[in-house]
Amino acid sequence: MSVSVREADFDVGAEIAALSVEGGDAGAVASFVGLVRRDRSAGGIRAMTLEHYPGMTEKALAEIVAEARRRWPLMAVRVVHRVGRLLPGDRIVLVAVSSSHRQAAFAGCEFIMDYLKTRAPFWKREETALGSRWVDARESDDDALRRWAGSENS
């Protein structure tokens, strides 16, 4: 299964090792790991809770992976996204892809991450010393998505 949404942490090394085997003749593996940022200021984040839309989340991620596969010759793809309560320094998301060459691996990995940010139904709630609040979506994430409009195998 290339997509996993769960509370449990993941082992980056084991995931990449499995991907390298699964990819067959892959010559390149690119990966991205997102973390809960450490913020040591007074109002900094103490914890973060991720909510999602069970069913749609898996479907949306599978569609994003399928779109990346249409654009680049990817071999194996793995997306793991955690939900529930996470602490600063915890891993949130892993995207790893393999391909024959690095260009497709880098581009495919970045594409999946940019689409995940704006298309997959996850919501973050941050806890600070002052209370908790839902994180606002960032316009820079929409800008990141627009870069890919009309780009095929670029």
Partner: protein, 84 residues
């Protein structure tokens, strides 16, 4: 046959529920029409009409508010996503 309406994140908290089942209201055939129908109940539901950048999904696919809604559909309303 009814429709299933789901609310997530800040919207779920503001409305005080994660969802409801209801008959498809007479005259409603789009997600935007459904939002307006629910918002017309008054507070707290009117927040649906005021929500900035309200997103929606029909049958677990993200769509615009002009998307068609029919009996048996699952319609979700939520704020812009913030995962990753």
């Amino acid at each position: 046959m009814t429709i299933r309406v789901l609310y997530f994140a800040g919207l779920r908290e503001a409305l005080g529920t994660s969802g409801e089942e209801m008959p498809l209201p007479a005259g409603v055939n789009t997600a935007g029409g459904l939002r307006d129908h629910i918002a017309a109940r008054g507070e707290p539901w009117a927040q649906l009409a005021r929500a900035r950048n309200l997103r929606c999904a029909v049958n677990q696919t993200m769509v615009g508010l002009d998307a068609v809604v029919k009996r048996g559909d699952e319609v979700a309303f939520f704020p812009p996503v913030t995962g990753g």
